[in-house]
Amino acid sequence: MSVVVRAESLATVEDVWFAYPLPDNGRREVLRGLNLHLLRGELVALVGTNGSGKTTLLRLLAGVLRPDTGIIRFDGRALGDWRRLDLARRVTVLPQQLDLPVGFRVAELVEMGRAPHAQRLFGATQADERAVARALADADALDLAHRYGDELSGGERQRVLVAMALAQEPTLLLMDEPTLHLDLAHQVAVLATIRRLRAQRGLTVLAVLHDLNLAAAFAPRIVVLDDGGVGADGPPDEVLTPALVERVFGVTVDEARLEDGSRHLALRL
């Protein structure tokens, strides 16, 4: 499978192989010749089984891991040619798990998102202040600004993580299961916020999601990781068929058509 690098591509992954070294000198292969391109301003949901390499792909795109072979480009330039700091000004990761350090107030935590943009040795610039205020407002976290980060509920924490990511003012936002540990209302709220922000700020978003129906409702493009590569890629209606779910996840599902014509997958236990 070859990828046509289009002019509007923001990030491209070209024939990337990646394996984690194991303690016994073996290797655990995760990605085997993966190809993917993300268009500027796109909203993409990434799904796949546990261990299929979703988080690995995010870490590769963030430049934290380097591919064994193959190349990843951001803005047309190979990731290896980017300085860590310059990349951090453009690519943000909203991690799956983040222990907020104790004793910091939310505003101070969100200010840490400004670290790659820091210009003053000890203070903050007006641009920093504006970015933090806007990030707090956009993530619906203004009312949390003076609370301590370690005293928040799960839903509040997630809003703070989103605010930290937004303060970084990224072009590409990589999210690793942003809805993990959230109840249904908070899952919907976080994803709705991300969708609104994508439109408002022209963000490009790649989000790892577990719930297939949620992914279908959230993103106009679904990428399914399977067998070290892209197993399927396209609009949810074309991608998330019972046949694919059975092949990739090994689970039998029924499909139901909703009134608006969209597909709903129902688990059969």
Binding site: M112, A115, E129, D143, H146
Partner: protein, 370 residues
């Protein structure tokens, strides 16, 4: 909810760290406290010199103020040649240990971390003990080596080299393929410290009449403080202070964990190595001229975190000032108590105060766990 929060947001700046008033209060208060305890500590001792005279002598000799001599010449000698170097040593060592402790606690994300935790103490101690014992075994060689170093004792030199070298060794051993995990660093530090401790014990066993000197050094003491020692340690300490204070932002970001710090643009491995080496430089320089004084580097950072919070922007300079003031006071106590090792005093006054503060604080907020 947001409407209710709006006024507090507008009246209180969202970011920019501690307000200027708060920073001025903490750092100004710390500076003032340090100045006062320095003058008091210089004035007090077995030969009393009045506070006014002390301030006048310091003012004339250090600041060049045109003050008339209203004091005995012996007072000036005592203050300038004996007490002042000792008090300045206490100041630098206390500040250095507290600052290094703050850095190690954040870097290792471990509340039990102190400046000695990854091998500095064991390495410096072995160096110092070697320096104490060697002249007994090889007098000619040791005297030659000692005099070569501008009068700086071989004990100080070996302690400094031992501390710095041990941390380099620990780092080299701990370094795996994919970086340096905190736990590995701590465990390797512990293992290598144990090996060195065996060497120290062996030397102590074989030392005979030098045992007293060895013991005094291990307890930590400022008895031998001199201008020569200060001239060696002060530039090293000042250098590490400047570079550490400038790294507050990266230390804060590292509290989010290695992965997130990396996402925020920090070259994590390089930064951790740099911070470790700077903090070890300060520790080794401090230990070289004072022995292994315990407690200051462990407790001062915790005390300050409980009172002013964990933001390194304020925490780093504050630990420098309050660590310095604490050790000056503790050393004064040690002198007035008949010259007992200062480490005993730091534990005796520091620990109960620390327990009291822990009990009254709203919630115990030590360092975040990994």
């Amino acid at each position: 909810m947001r409407a209710a929060a709006a006024p507090s947001v507008t009246t209180r700046p969202l970011i920019g760290g501690p307000t200027l008033t708060r920073a001025a209060l903490v750092l100004g208060g710390g500076t003032l406290l340090l100045g006062v305890v320095v003058v008091v500590a210089v004035a007090m001792g077995s030969v009393g010199v009045g506070l006014g005279d002390t301030a006048a002598i310091l003012g004339r000799r250090l600041l060049g103020l045109p003050l008339t001599e209203s004091w005995a010449p012996s007072a000036e000698t005592i203050i300038f040649e004996l007490r002042l170097p000792r008090v300045l040593t206490a100041m630098l060592v206390g500040g250095g240990l507290a600052l290094a402790g703050t850095v190690f606690q954040a870097l290792l994300r471990n509340p039990l971390a102190d400046p000695y935790v990854i091998g500095t103490a064991a390495g410096a101690s072995l160096g110092a003990v070697l320096g104490i014992v060697a002249p007994l075994l090889l007098p000619g060689l040791a005297i030659g080596a000692a005099s070569a170093w501008l009068g700086l004792g071989i004990v100080q030199l070996l302690a400094f080299v031992g501390g710095l070298g041990t941390v380099l060794l620990v780092y080299a051993v701990a370094r795996g393929t994919g970086g340096t995990p905190v736990v590995t660093l701590l465990l390797v530090g512990y293992a290598i410290s144990s090996i060195l401790a065996a060497g120290i014990a062996l030397l102590m066993f074989a030392s005979g009449r030098a045992l007293g000197a060895i013991f005094g050094w291990l307890m930590g003491s400022l008895t031998g403080a001199s201008w020569v020692d200060l001239a060696f340690a002060a530039p090293l300490l000042a250098l590490s202070f400047i570079f550490l204070l400038a790294r507050w932002r990266r230390l804060n970001v590292l509290l989010l964990g290695d992965a997130q710090a990396s996402h925020l643009g920090v070259e994590v491995e390089r930064e951790k190595l740099g911070l470790t080496m700077l903090a070890t430089l300060a520790t080794s320089a401090a230990v070289a001229i004072s022995g292994t004084i315990g407690f200051v580097g462990l407790v001062v950072p915790h005390l300050l975190r409980l009172v002013i919070g964990p933001d390194h922007r304020l925490l780093l300079p504050a630990s420098l000032l309050f660590g310095a003031a604490l050790l000056v006071v503790a050393d004064l106590g040690a002198r007035l108590a008949g010259g007992i090792p200062v480490g005993i005093i730091t534990a005796l006054i520091g620990a109960p105060f620390f327990i009291w503060l822990l009990r009254r604080s709203r919630a115990i907020r030590p360092v975040p766990s990994p």
